[in-house]
Amino acid sequence: MTAKLSLEGVGKDFGGFTALDAIDLHVSAGEFLVLVGPSGCGKTTLLDLVGGLTRPTRGRLLLDGAPITGPGLDRGVVFQQYALFPWRTALGNVEFGLEAKRVPRRERRERAREFLALVDLTGFADRYPHELSGGMRQRVAIARSLAYDPEVLLMDEPFAALDAQTRETLQAELRRIWEQTGKTIVFITHGIEEAVFLGQRVAVMSARPGTIRTIVEVGLEARGADEDVRSREDFVEHRHRLWELLHQRREREAVLV
């Protein structure tokens, strides 16, 4: 299968500091890939590169075989702090990307409503962000990014600021949305459980310089609608394996320091 998104030998330096080095990553169309790593491993830098907000020092990034040269609506970014426009209602926020895409007004409105419904916020279209809970705001942000139909959805620790219960709900919602839309998703987190729960594959990163250490196939595909996946034996195994991978490295780094 050809890759939707390819990173080939990507590196990024800031002054004399190497934030990322030798990143090779291929994400297939419709895949849900999770990047997990400790803070300071360059996860966000990597996301900025894919988002086109910064340019790589080395290597190249390809989307559908074409080099990424800047930001664009073929990639949608969901930020940890929602980044909603506070002067726009939930509906207005979802319409934002559609305006940038020059979708006509009537169709825009329709599409925005459709995507608010997808994230279960039908009754909240006219609410301003400050009138919504954290979980609801992140739903709006997800709807906004999905509405303009990007090729890849990039998510930068989107649930990290939420309480545990809301986070679990949104994780399940995201899985459902992914299954429903068939989007290619690159999801960044520092939570091992989140990585195992969400991802088909989990790329484990290490710091200094940030690079991909290994990629673990998770793929807890056959799951029932109301199944408690987190208590499944294979979930626990994967979680432990990832924990070891991250832990090993930490020990090794401790020796280096």
Binding site: L53, G70, P71, G76, Q81, A83, R88, Y148, T169
Partner: protein, 270 residues
């Protein structure tokens, strides 16, 4: 979705309701003292005329049309100066704020100008522009410009960088970014500047009219004092107070209208 709670209460509904009669009572008590103290001989009624006499003088000024002429003269100057200041300062502030290095360079200078009491410059304006309409309107323009300019610069500079990043990630160019993100994000702070400018306009104008004019509320107060028409003097002062409150509330109303998306903050009601 089970975690979605019932709709949150609208912020306006949560605003603490202060009994309105408390405020009215305070004003009534003040006016009562104004009436009683001169009559009781606690203060000399030559200098502090009882409120009822002030109001009868005010009524005479109103019915003879004298007051309307003075108000018109003052408001024309205030509005002209205010409008010019808004037209100049907002675009200029947006420009300065948008270019970070320009803002850093100019900010100390702007702070000096803002903190120089406009009235200190009154003689300079009179020297250069004479004592006609031009100098008075120019004074108002000057007094109004700084709060608007500085608030606009601050507003643009304090736009949440995350919102800019988010908009950029959707491929917005500089012009679109400015129009769709920076401008709307700045509106509330700019409006605070406009409200401050409204107050400045009244203050500066009255002072300018006291220095040299043949019409206007400042002139009315000053000339009444010279002619020992003390009730008329107070009538002019009361009119200015009422106008000042009206202008402030009108601008506050506008400010609220344009900032509805903001969570209400304590201390906004001043």
């Amino acid at each position: 979705m089970s975690s979605v709670a019932a709709p949150l209460p609208r912020t306006a509904a949560r605003r603490a309701s202060v009994p309105w009669f408390g405020g009215v009572a305070a004003i009534a008590a003040f006016l009562g003292l104004w009436e009683v103290l001169p009559r009781a001989g606690v203060v000399d009624r030559t200098w502090l005329v009882p409120f009822s006499e002030v109001m009868s003088a005010w009524w005479d000024l109103l019915t003879t049309g004298v007051l309307a002429d003075h108000i018109r003269a003052s408001m024309q100057r205030a509005l002209a100066g205010f409008a010019i200041a808004v037209a100049i300062s907002i675009p200029l502030g947006l420009l300065i704020g948008w270019y970070a290095s320009v803002a850093r360079t100019l900010n100390p200078l702007l702070e000096i100008f803002r903190n120089t009491a406009p009235l200190a410059l009154l003689p300079v304006f009179v020297l250069i522009l004479g004592i006609g309409e031009t100098s008075k309107v120019a004074m108002v323009v000057y007094g109004c410009s700084w709060p608007i300019l500085l608030n606009t610069v601050t507003a643009v500079r304090e736009v949440d960088p995350l919102l800019v990043r988010s908009a950029r990630s959707m491929g917005l160019g500089s012009v679109e970014l400015f129009r769709k993100v920076v401008l709307p994000a700045s509106v509330p702070t700019i409006f605070t500047g406009i409200r401050l400018a409204g107050q400045a306009a009244m203050l500066v104008l009255i002072a300018a009219e006291m220095v040299g004019a043949n019409a206007g509320l400042g002139f009315l107060i000053n000339s009444s004092q010279y002619n020992f028409a003390i009730p008329e003097m107070y009538a002019g002062i009361v009119t200015i107070a009422a106008l000042g409150v009206a202008v402030n509330y009108a601008l506050l109303f506008l400010e609220r209208r344009f900032s509805r998306w903001r969570p209400s903050r304590p201390g906004m009601d001043t």
